[in-house]
Symmetry: D2
Subunit: 484 residues, 4 copies
């Protein structure tokens, strides 16, 4: 065992030496020639690609530590700037320029050289994805600070490269290249695609699937947006995906007429509404670079020019995290009861507690406990009268979750935060909207429409981002504000 540890450490040391030597050769001389820099940056990619993930992290933090900034130059230049305060604008501009240059890490030039190769930009995207995935498991704080700073440096470059002008909007149809269609299928995370028939439908009539591709990453969809073309704001994902659901839907909850059934060709005169029912960013390495928003905006324009009669735009979005939050809140209330405290803002209204009594088993006296049981067992789904009683309670709690719960001033729910940042309105919460196992586990089968009123998105977005104001429909405002 001792021997093993020893052998392992020796291997580590050897690797460290090899990596260090390699980096030295890469940054060797003040080599200004473009030609040698090309070879070196290629070597870098290859060296990195052949490493195991752990070694990649070691290698990158070594890179960041040793070939980041020249600390002494930064300090000296910073002092210069301070000293130049009174020496006139021309001088100040010059020293500030020098300070700016001194703050560019040495490795950034390497990354720029990498970007010149075929596949180089994709390499950087993937390298950043590596960092983001593994940084949380780095115990050494300094290492992790260096890695974060490397990741940010890459992000700054990618932000400039993944600007809208370099992205190509493409519609994916059944006549698109097979590999693109397959990738759209593979990447779909919101409502997984079940088979090729399902896929064919999602790119077929009454559907629009748009992607952004990037000129330096051809045949690779970067963001994917699925849209359904309908005649009203769709309540249920089942009518779009034409899936059977976990449980039959009762009168009054019937899915709206779906235009796409049995129709080979679109009747564009019937299309008044676009429902964004799935948006997926495929590259973890592009985290923090918002492309989805731009994709939605461009798709809106495309649809408007194709269908002059379209006047309603809305998402039909999942509510990931709702049930988790709910169970947590229930637990908090239960715990308070246990220790005899009163919760400041109890989860359930008195009237709701009364209603719950009628559907809970006799051995359960605490209605929080009863609710928790109902939700965790999925019992409610198959019992119509339970379902009916839960409907009003869960709709209210979901409104509270989406409309009231915040983090750092912004909506706690990430999907809500995305659409509200884009300027959408929190429009309607739909009951029995996604009755797949996934939907029931995530959000008790509910989904939500974020509606885009094109004239107000700018204003809404501004008010949300600046003042944390959430624009919502009156129904939601009322539901979300109900208190005891």
């Amino acid at each position: 065992n001792e021997w093993r540890r020893h052998s392992y450490e020796k291997k580590r040391t050897l690797f460290t030496e090899r990596a260090s030597d390699f980096l030295e050769s890469v940054f060797s001389s003040s080599d200004v020639s473009i030609l040698s820099s090309e070879v070196k940056s290629r070597d870098f990619c290859q060296f990195y690609s052949n490493l195991e993930i752990k070694d990649k992290m070691v290698f990158l933090s070594m890179l960041a530590r040793q070939y980041g900034l020249h600390q002494d130059i930064v300090l000296e230049t910073a002092k210069n700037v301070i000293a130049s305060e009174e020496r006139g604008d021309a001088v100040i501009l010059r020293v500030e320029e020098r300070l700016r240059q001194s703050l560019v890490p040495q490795y950034q030039q390497l990354f720029r050289n990498v970007s010149r190769h075929e596949g180089g930009v994709k390499f950087l995207v993937d390298m950043r994805a590596d960092i983001l995935t593994n940084i949380t498991s780095i115990s050494n704080e300094t290492d992790s600070a260096y890695l974060r700073s490397t990741s940010n440096s890459v992000r700054d470059l990618l932000t400039l490269w993944f600007t809208v002008g370099f992205l190509n909007l493409q519609r994916v149809t059944w006549e698109s290249p097979c590999d693109m269609v397959q990738k759209v299928s593979d990447y779909e995370a919101v409502h997984p695609i079940r088979n090729w028939t399902d896929l064919k439908r999602r790119v077929g009539p009454y559907r629009r699937c748009f992607v952004f591709t990037h000129s330096s990453m051809p045949r690779e969809p970067v963001v994917v947006l699925h849209t359904a073309l309908t005649n009203e704001i769709t309540k249920s994902i089942h009518s779009i995906l034409q899936t059977g659901q976990f449980k039959p839907i009762r009168d009054g909850d019937l899915p709206e007429e779906d235009l796409s059934v049995n129709s080979e060709t679109e009747d564009s005169s019937k299309i008044t509404t676009a429902i964004f029912y799935s948006i997926t960013s495929t590259q973890k390495g592009l985290q923090g670079i918002d492309l989805g928003n731009y994709l939605i905006k461009q798709v809106v324009r495309e649809l408007q020019s194709e269908f002059p009669r379209i006047y309603q735009f809305s998402s039909l979005s999942p509510i990931p995290g709702f049930k988790e939050w709910l169970i947590m809140e229930i637990n908090r209330n239960l715990h308070a009861d246990d220790i005899g405290e009163t919760v400041e803002n109890p989860l359930l209204l008195d009237s709701e507690i009364e209603k719950l009594k009628s559907v809970s088993s006799s051995d359960c006296t605490n209605m929080y406990e009863a609710l928790k049981r109902l939700l965790t067992t999925h019992e409610w789904v198959s019992k119509e009268h339970v379902c009916k009683i839960l409907q009003s309670i869960l709709l209210r709690l979901c409104a509270r979750y989406l409309y009231v719960e915040k983090r750092r001033g912004y909506a706690l729910n990430p999907v809500a935060n995305f659409h509200l940042s884009n300027g959408a309105v929190l429009w309607r919460i739909n009951w029995l909207s996604d009755m797949s196992m996934r939907g029931i586990n995530q959000s008790c089968g509910m989904m939500v429409n974020y509606r885009y009123f094109l004239d107000n998105t700018t204003e809404n977005s501004k008010r949300y981002l600046e003042n944390h104001h959430i624009e919502a429909s009156p129904e939601i405002v009322e539901l979300g504000s109900l208190k005891i």
Copy 2:
């Protein structure tokens, strides 16, 4: 007149107020919304585009002065960095990141937003071209410092966007879109295209015309490289352009066999040599962003894969500035004679002075004067014996100009500097090589081959850029080193 001046000043003031108000509205709030920023950056482009060129400069320097850096924040953050020196890497990284952010001018975000629009990148390229063209006529030094800093800021963005990964190599042929072909014709600056027949030949058999286009500026060639495919290193541009020349060429100076004459289809088995005979950067706004080098490299690769037998690569380049330099040098020698001084390194060898005597008119006793007259009258061109005597003198002086004359350590001649930076070898100076009026005026009819030995370009480039070493053929070294 007084009234006029008054009216003019009033107009200026009004413009200044209008511009100031406009900029205030653009940068008004800490407006984070993407949607409003889109509108604002569009407004910016429109406002700018409608200005006259003088107002454009006023407007841009106003922008740079008022919406550059927050000086106080820069200073404070710089102090923070200095104060953090001992507080550990994680802290240092954080404050340095903040300092970096503080050094990004406010207007840069505006420029980035501009780049997102269709035509936005082209707008920035053209705006920078405006600055570069007009900055020299700005008298106020502070203004010009601000404009330079704006130009650099745009350049930094463009450098990232005009990286090779986003450039598309395209071959232009007679089957290319007519507008592309026309632009290639319009942009040709080195050897102007005379008519459509001439143009058809330049994109036809035994010729390759390659361009870089940029994904955000479609149908716009950014750099253009014309190549002739031959069986030896071409001496004369006339054999490539199939132009008659100013004056018949004598035995021994006959142009090499030109493959392209009378041949409809290329015989690729005869092609051993690629001659780069014209390279043009079309966008002044991209000054300082070297794309020509990359274009040459990519074209070399294309040609190698198309013609496996190609083994020689060389330019056939003009020598702009040679005659101007020569006249200047003559004048310096003349002046020294006038005041009875001796020049340290006289232009003409004694033997050359003797030779010149045989062809100068009797009333002219100073051979510098005689040479000057010969060159300015173009007499030599049509007199065979004069021509013969000038040949050896001018070839030697040209070698000196190209091989010996430097500025800041680099070759004085800009074309030489370009090819030497790329790693080419100063190979051969050709007599009677471009006998067009343009060629005679510019460089006494001489042209030069810079030869690319692919195995050594990296090394050559490095030695030139780092040690100012010019790699040249033995002939040139000898010619250029001849002294009294």
Copy 3:
């Protein structure tokens, strides 16, 4: 000389033998293999292509004589058919099928094999063009009968191949491949293109240039149609071509406003009218296969879908042959006068003769003579009062030429015949409409609008083709019917 003739004849004999041998080898065995037939048909193309035009005719008539039908089989099968008259449908169908087979010339299989090669269809088109061009100079009647029959055999094949389904409608713009644009320029016969600026305008805004290409003859426009987009039915070709004309145009004859001047982008809201101002068939070998009609129809559909406000479609057509016809008629009238006869339907009205007197020189007493002189000297063009008097006379005579003069029941003028067959209406004759030398020589500067009323083209076409009825505007009917 005798020797020369002898030598020539010997050469002829040698050629005949060589050609005969060659054909024997091609048709040698009952060779059913596709592979050998491929080689043979390639040989055939090469053999033919290398011949001089005279030999080509000798060769083709040899082919037609020797490898046409098996006369004996035709006769026998024909007798069989007659004999089978009463033997029931099944038998009759079978013998008729055999008769049909026996009537396919042997060389037709060869032609079909030729069509399989790349460039094979074009070969046949060109071969037929050879026949059509040279058949008139063949003195031997039998030879010419055989050649005509070969030409028809090729035409039958081409008719099947140049059916609309295999033709591709393409719009040619300034962004089309340069070689296509050049061919459109080279082929333009109606209004020759003067330079590349002229050409650029003809494919630019407010213009549409459409061509048919054929899948087996890529990059080769087969028919070309130029259309101008305007706001009224254009009277003068000068407003379309923006050409100065031979002579200034007076008040009341001013060209209509031309949308295309000074406008970079089309304002589609102003476009109400499409003027077909030039249609050219480029392949003589396709004579008798009407593609122009289909091209017009498809272009009408394209334009309707692009410009919903377009409601007027009209040609602006030349009147080739009018002046020639007019001079001939004048001569006929003169001749009748000479010999003292009366022409049945004299060319000039009495009132016209009176008018002419006022502008003819005193030495000329016969007004037919006077008119002839005026027209042949072009004097009238530059004399306003002569011009004014001629206007009404020539307009009336032109109406008579177009509306009344027929050949085999159809309009004598070929352009008229083309548009009337397509179902157009003879709409308006325009004075001072094409004042180029060409226009004056051809049709005294007049042009004509054939207007397409889409609802009636079928009916009009039918009435014209079946009953020789020419549909014309009331003005033309009146003008054309005026008699003494």
Copy 4:
């Protein structure tokens, strides 16, 4: 029931009347206008398409009977031809031309007009497929003669349109449009595609899938050829399709190394052999128009230019009908035994009968009976020693089937006939080559290689088609010639 029959007959009569009236309107006048003929032919397509299949046949035979030839004109013209026998070539050519015209059925012009529409050619292809599918069930002989003649008339047109010049060779890969890939999958008849992974492999590395498409039927593969790229002439389809087989394969029968396993990118240096393992004509309506042969030829050319080291071309083909033929032959031998006759050319050799005895159950004394049982029960597949004994017997019988058995002089087996017509050599019969249920049922698991020696295909094809000579490898010649 009586009533029902009555009602049915009434309906028939009504339909007949309606169809008759419709046809009358279509052929109504001697309507020469193209425009009305367009409308009519569209009406025709629509009328036909809305009919049930039975009515389609009634309708088409009505069309053929009533709008075929003008019998009287044919007869008269035929007599004219006979009468003109001595009147010179020019006259003869003219009357023959008239006879040719008279033999064109009236409906052919209609079919040509149909072909002009978008989708018109596909309509004719499908209409002919209808006839070919249903003609066998037409009891009335005259009707069926008319239908056959209509089918032939369509075939003659299609033959001219589906000539190679109008067909486009396309390679289908995983990057091809999804609908094309799907069609390739749907049409695969020889080795059905199991799933999308299977499909992806068939268009992936070490595979080439080529199709012909036709310009008038875009996105519709007309013929599909699947090719595997290997390093030897493949024996077993399992190594190509990477399928497990019904039964493990023993030593000596191991599948050859398959290049495609575990290899993402092709190593073109290893590729020496192209195996055509599936060829499918997708359009029944093109029966009798051989496109497969041309597709193979073009693919050979493509492969030769892509892989200069390829020197072996061979099919790996199924043997449909072998087992059926074998059982039939066994029955014939059994029957002869039953009635005590001797078969002239008995199926089994004495030595084979001996061998069979060792593996047949004791209650079975007749070895023909025993063999029949073995084959029908599939027992042999799982019993190694039975399998070994059957191997030599079945290989010999298969050689006899392919090499000796003929119909009308040509190979009885249709796949053999196809490849031999193309000039291939009957090369090798492979044991345990397709052990899928389908393969075992069809050909006792055997497959055959037809090898293409490019230098001899022309000669081979000719000898086969003219002299019925089958070129085969010595092994096959020997096997196939073995007699008692």
